[in-house]
């Protein structure tokens, strides 16, 4: 599953922050999963634990909290804000393509009002670190 690669990225970025901020250990990493990418919380938590570094590392005991962020899309020409459920349903291979690369949503859905494919993914795109907390440094 390619979610393992994204889980690795989260832990790698958290480790970089910990080193930059001089943290002795990371206590919490809050992760937002954009609903557009359709990664489930249990799957991502499983992946984090698969790639989490072992005892002695700054991330060994970090509480990785994962939540889903709803999708908000904004049509540039007409200004309509809409969610993925209001556009054409993403199913099958199209859903799989967006699961790998969320930007490909531009190939598959359009604004429900004006049918433009020129829309912005305002939120709910993919994997993002919302915050990192730790101990022993000057605050991360």
């Amino acid at each position: 599953m390619h979610e393992l690669a994204l889980a690795e990225a989260v832990l790698s970025a958290a480790r970089e922050v910990a080193e930059r901020e001089g943290l002795e250990r990371v206590t919490k990493v809050a992760v937002r999963l954009g609903a557009l990418q359709r990664i489930s919380v249990p799957t991502f938590e499983f992946c984090v634990n698969e790639v989490r570094p072992g005892a002695g590392s700054k991330l060994a005991e970090a509480d990785v909290q994962v939540e889903i962020e709803p999708v908000e899309l904004a049509c540039r020409p007409c200004g309509r804000h809409f969610g993925i459920e209001q556009a054409n349903a993403l199913e099958g291979d199209r859903a799989e393509a967006v699961h790998f690369i969320p930007e490909l949503v531009h190939a598959f859905i359009a604004c429900p009002d004006c049918a433009s494919v020129d829309f912005e993914v305002v939120k709910g795109r993919g994997v993002l670190i919302a915050s990192i907390e730790g101990e022993g440094g000057h605050g991360a």
């Binding site: 994204l6 990225a9 480790r15 531009h106 494919v117 993919g126 991360a140």
Partner: protein
């Protein structure tokens, strides 16, 4: 506190840790044959026994799969995605995910697509990763410089003054950024063409004119069949350049 941190850039170096060199086939101009050069360069590298990857970063107009005759369909995934093995090379294109659909992408979407591909693709051990760059000096050119600063550029031009005008700007940008440039390849050179504009352009930037590739009428019919592409006069002219690039 860190807020809204994109984690993907932090793993790019690790994803490419097994790649000995990255070669971007660039021009800043469409229609000069970047995709033909990039794809054939990868095929010739494999022919020479090198482990070569090919990444098509023309995100809105990918064509390398046509040149290679590669299937469209999702790559396999395990600890990330595995580029498709085809004709002796590891190959990845947005076309694998997009099929024949069209995705119009603005700047931020281009950056996100590039970052996603770089973050999840597992290239493994490669002697070289060839990147087919899109036309223009937009987001992809800036992002490649930002996220792959050690990538070297092989710049393609045709003898056309129009191509040279755009390629000059591309070379100027690469020079300002301090990006490594391997040299300039002259493509679509007619037999009777004795123009020296591309050679002069390369010299103006202190670069080598690595060679001329013919305007080859057989290339079009060879597209989609790698062994036929390798047998064209176009590939024959590119072969010594590939040897020099992959051997350097």
């Amino acid at each position: 506190m860190v807020h809204d941190l994109d984690p993907r850039p932090s793993v790019i170096r690790d994803r490419l840790s097994g790649v000995a060199r990255v070669v971007c086939v660039s021009a800043g101009k469409g229609g000069v044959g970047k995709s033909s050069v990039a794809s054939t360069l990868a095929l010739l590298g494999a022919e020479q026994g090198m482990a070569v990857g090919l990444l098509d970063l023309d995100l809105t107009g990918p064509t390398d799969h046509v040149i290679l005759g590669a299937r469209l369909g999702f790559p396999s995934e395990e600890y990330g995605i595995d580029p498709e093995r085809h004709a002796g090379i590891s190959f990845l294109s947005v076309a694998h995910f997009l099929g024949m659909d069209a995705a119009a992408l603005r700047g931020g979407d281009v950056t996100n697509t590039l970052l996603e591909l770089l973050a999840i693709a597992r290239w493994g051990a490669l002697d070289a990763l060839v990147i087919d760059m899109p036309p223009g000096l937009g987001d992809t050119a800036l992002d490649v410089h930002r996220y792959l600063p050690k990538a070297a550029h092989l710049v393609v031009s045709t003898p056309s003054r129009l191509a040279c005008e755009s390629v000059r700007r591309c070379l100027s940008l690469l020079s300002k950024q301090g990006a490594p440039v391997l040299g300039v390849v002259e493509n679509m050179k007619a037999k009777a063409d004795d123009s020296t504009e591309v050679a002069e352009l390369a010299a103006a930037f202190g670069l080598r004119h690595l060679g001329s590739l013919p305007r080859d009428p057989d290339l079009e019919s060879a597209l989609g069949t790698p062994e036929r592409v390798r047998a064209t006069a176009f590939a024959s002219a590119l072969r010594p350049i590939a040897t020099e690039i992959f051997g350097s």
